[in-house]
């Protein structure tokens, strides 16, 4: 058995697929491509695939990851060839065999970079809002949901933030189990007047205890 870590992108309208529908897309593609994926045991066998942290519906991805258990004998080229079986909008960049004992994506990945494309806004005001954000010890945000609103402190979970190319808000979010800010919420907090025209998760990263970043 081999576990492959696949790096891929999701571009265009396919980003509107739910996590579950995306899983179906992969399962069918892997079957079309005759990739010898391993199945779980039991009455309802399913392919042994695990994704990294789920991405919100409507968010594109430049550097997404998934782990796939396969039979031995595949090479990286097989995965590049497999690209032809994937629907337009999904593309594999790299594939590598994992060493035994490598932590799972869900365990390891704790940082996500996002770029939000915004409608017109006041750049100076936004930059000031960013400066104020990092100057504060605590920045509260009220998350609204049908189950009730929840007050969250966004300050510790946001590692970096800046305006790029006049209309892009870049934000680096630390994913914790105490409640992770969503990119759309960060945009609402910093540039409330702007509409989000597009959102892309540029990278998923691992930050170790020393604060060093690495790719999964």
């Amino acid at each position: 058995m081999t576990v492959w870590r696949i790096k891929f992108s999701i571009k265009g309208r396919l980003c509107y697929l739910s996590h579950l529908d995306m899983l179906t897309v992969w399962e069918r593609a892997l079957r079309r491509g005759n990739i010898p994926v391993l199945y779980s045991q039991g009455f309802n066998p399913h392919m042994l695939i695990s994704f990294g942290p789920a991405h919100a519906v409507g968010v594109e991805g430049e550097g997404e990851y998934m782990d796939i258990d396969t039979m031995q004998g595949l090479k990286e080229e097989n995965w590049f060839a497999f690209n032809s079986c994937l629907p337009e909008g999904i593309k594999i960049f790299s594939a590598r065999e994992l060493e035994q004992g490598t932590p799972s994506l869900m365990q390891a990945v704790n940082i996500a970079d996002y770029s939000l494309r915004l409608s017109e806004f006041d750049k100076t005001a936004a930059e000031k809002a960013i400066a104020d954000f990092f100057a504060a010890d605590e920045v509260m945000f009220e998350r609204k949901s049908p189950k009730g609103n929840k007050l969250m402190n966004f300050r510790p979970a946001i590692k970096a933030m800046e305006i790029r190319d006049d209309n892009i808000l870049f934000v680096r979010i630390w994913m914790t189990n105490k409640g992770t800010p969503r990119p759309f919420e960060v945009a609402r907090l910093i540039v409330p007047e702007a509409r989000v025209l597009g959102c892309c998760r540029d990278a998923l990263l691992i930050e170790n205890a020393a604060g060093e970043l690495s790719l999964p």
Partner: protein
């Protein structure tokens, strides 16, 4: 013009709609295996509109077939569209965004032809709504000469009359060849500078095409039809179109993979068309006659191709009675042997209630004995004879018990109430039958099965349909249906282990009116839509109060349409549309129903004279039985 619209539509979709609507993935289009032909190089463009949600529409086999027929024909472009959900529709209307297609996002109104499939009567308000959402007038007579040609086909087109005010042209019968001929006719007339009236006059020459505006209907003082008169040289009777050789018919092996899970999200293999059993309530059993099987070797090849093209892990064998297919055992063996060893599961809907069907079910549900569904349809032998369901109580009990003995724990049984000649005793007989079935089933349960046996009853209300022996009977009044449902409930309640669910009687009431009504119903339909009726087939959207208002304002009586028994000699609203089965034979079947007399299946017992083969020049086509491996 259309190009600008398309870009605008995409901009709105990307920036306003997709980020804010519920389950946006259903609207994105561009699915794997979808076909986007070059707009400018097409001779003719058709938008196929499914008058219900995406997840339902993407389960529809007919759409897959018509899609494939267009995909392989040069010059013909066909794209899909579906009814948007309420939140999407509200946003589209607020933005003044017209209904568009899933492939190229062109506005539906920019196509030459707009086609609806008529799968069930309760989708009719959605048709009006989708026309309106496309920016077209819903009334055919009010639409401009250069507006798209609006067509419809499918099982409900056998009584197209309630939609006569809205649809320019109906296609009656098998659509795969007819639709292409029609589209090529449209291309030809348009190229020659013709308008819509020219198209209609040319199209009516195609076998199976019905142009409602070419027929004048007059009425008697009692509301019944006095006459239906063909004008403009239209044929007095439009004969249904049929595909004679299913092996030569186009079949999609590159089916589109929906972006959100469809209701039936799997490969579909149409093993045969038609059914010779002759259940007297069943419209499909009449309008798809004669039975035409596909060759088992061809089906195997199609299944293998389909799996390669889709990556699906489930295959449904489709037909009206799969166990009747001559080579069903050979085919299931061959599929199990040749499809992906990592598991393609087969499903066989529409099974009979007998030992053979059970052994088939066992063959296809090897690992997961998920559940079995049988349709005894009626509780008493008398009623099963009335409807010509050639099966007895002993067989039903024995089959269910055998299923439980082999490890199935949940069995669903379908029944109908409100059938002609039904008495209270027949209703109580449903409960009695289920009691006996359950007792035997519990006794048959093997020791290793720990789950309790559950038997659920689905009880629907009988709706008379055109072109069946029961087309003359009225539906039992709504209150009486409720009483019978209560009666059944009272008798089911004391039996532990039985679950009962009854279909809403108000929906069936309307369905009866539209299934057998005439073109005057268009007025009620129009008013109901104006009052906001849509998605009537969905309990949460169905507004019977609005429908009642619509009927009373239109001066029509829903009761007259749904409950009146028609006399055998009156002119029926669909009498100018022929499915090939003779009315004389249907009348005789209706008489035999009253006598509780059976009519035997012509597959095994010789011709019983329904007349379809002679009328359509097409015979039953049963393929020679191939030997099974373990027989060689």
């Amino acid at each position: 013009m259309s190009e600008i619209d398309r870009i605008e539509i995409e901009k709105f979709l990307n920036e306003e709609l997709l980020p804010s609507v519920e389950r946006p993935a259903q609207y994105i289009g561009g699915e794997y295996n979808s076909v986007c032909k070059d707009w400018d190089n097409a001779d003719v463009r058709m938008a196929f509109l499914f008058p219900d949600t995406y997840e339902l529409g993407m389960s529809h086999m007919g759409m897959r077939i018509l899609y494939e027929a267009a995909a392989v024909t040069d010059g013909v472009l066909l794209e899909r569209s579906f009814a948007p959900l309420a939140d999407m529709e509200a946003k589209m209307r607020a933005l003044k965004l017209p209904l568009f297609t899933w492939e190229s996002h062109h506005a539906v109104k920019d196509f030459d032809v707009i086609g609806f499939t008529l799968q069930y009567e309760m989708s009719y308000t959605n048709i009006l709504n989708m026309l309106d959402l496309s920016g077209l007038n819903v009334l055919a007579s009010e639409r401009e000469e250069d507006a798209p040609l609006v067509i419809a086909g499918g099982p409900c087109a056998f009584n197209p009359e309630p939609l006569a005010d809205f649809i320019d042209l109906f296609v009656i019968g098998d659509g795969e060849e007819m639709n292409i001929e029609l589209l090529q006719c449209v291309a030809r007339v348009k190229k020659a500078g013709g308008t819509k009236s020219d198209i209609l006059r040319e199209a009516m020459k195609i076998e199976g095409v019905y142009v409602p505006s070419f027929y004048n209907v007059s009425y008697n003082a009692d509301g019944t039809i006095a006459g239906i008169e063909a004008q403009n040289g239209a044929p007095a009777v439009v004969k249904r179109r049929i595909v004679k050789d299913m092996d030569k018919a186009v079949f999609p092996t590159k089916c589109i993979l929906p972006n959100v899970k469809a209701v039936h999200d799997r490969m579909m293999l149409e093993i045969m068309r038609g059914c010779t059993r002759g259940c007297r309530f069943c419209q499909a059993g009449i309008i798809y006659r004669p039975t035409r099987e596909r060759s088992p070797e061809l089906l195997l090849q199609q299944a293998i191709e389909m799996e390669k093209n889709t990556g699906y892990d489930e295959l449904g064998l489709l037909s009206l009675s799969s166990a009747d297919y001559n080579n069903i055992a050979w085919l299931t063996d061959a599929l199990n042997e040749n499809l992906n060893p990592s598991g393609v599961s087969l499903s066989l809907p529409s099974l009979r209630i007998d030992a053979f069907s059970l052994s088939l079910a066992e063959k296809v549900q090897k690992v997961r004995k998920s559940g079995l569904t049988f349709a005894p349809e009626a509780g008493s032998q008398k009623m099963r004879n009335v409807i010509n369901k050639g099966i007895n109580e002993e067989e039903i009990i024995r089959t269910v018990a055998a299923a439980v003995a082999r490890g199935w724990t949940s069995v669903k049984l379908y029944f109908m109430i409100g059938l002609p000649f039904e008495t209270d005793e027949d209703i109580i007989a449903i409960a009695e039958l289920c009691r006996k079935v359950l007792r035997e089933a519990k006794g048959a349960k093997p020791d290793y099965v720990t789950k309790p046996i559950s038997i659920s009853l689905g009880v629907s209300t009988f709706v008379p349909k055109c072109n069946t022996p029961f087309q003359w009977c009225g539906q039992i009044p709504k209150e009486e249906i409720r009483r019978r449902q209560m009666l059944l409930r009272d008798h089911i309640k004391p039996i532990r282990g039985l679950k009962l669910s009854c279909h809403d009687s108000a929906t069936s009431y309307l369905e009866a009116a539209f299934a057998t009504g005439d073109r005057r119903l268009g007025k009620a339909l129009y008013l109901a839509w104006q009052k906001g009726c849509k998605f009537d087939g969905w309990t949460e959207h169905f507004r019977f109060d609005l429908w009642q208002e619509a009927f009373s304002e239109s001066g029509l009586s829903l009761e007259w349409y749904a409950n009146r028994e028609k006399s055998l000699d009156e002119i029926l609203p669909w009498s100018h549309i022929s499915c090939g089965v003779s009315q004389k034979w249907l009348k005789n079947e209706w008489k035999k129903a009253g006598e509780e007399a059976l009519t035997l299946d012509c597959r095994n017992h010789g011709c019983n004279g329904c007349g379809v083969c002679q009328s359509l020049g097409c015979e039953n086509d049963f393929k020679t039985k191939l030997p099974l491996k373990d027989e060689i």
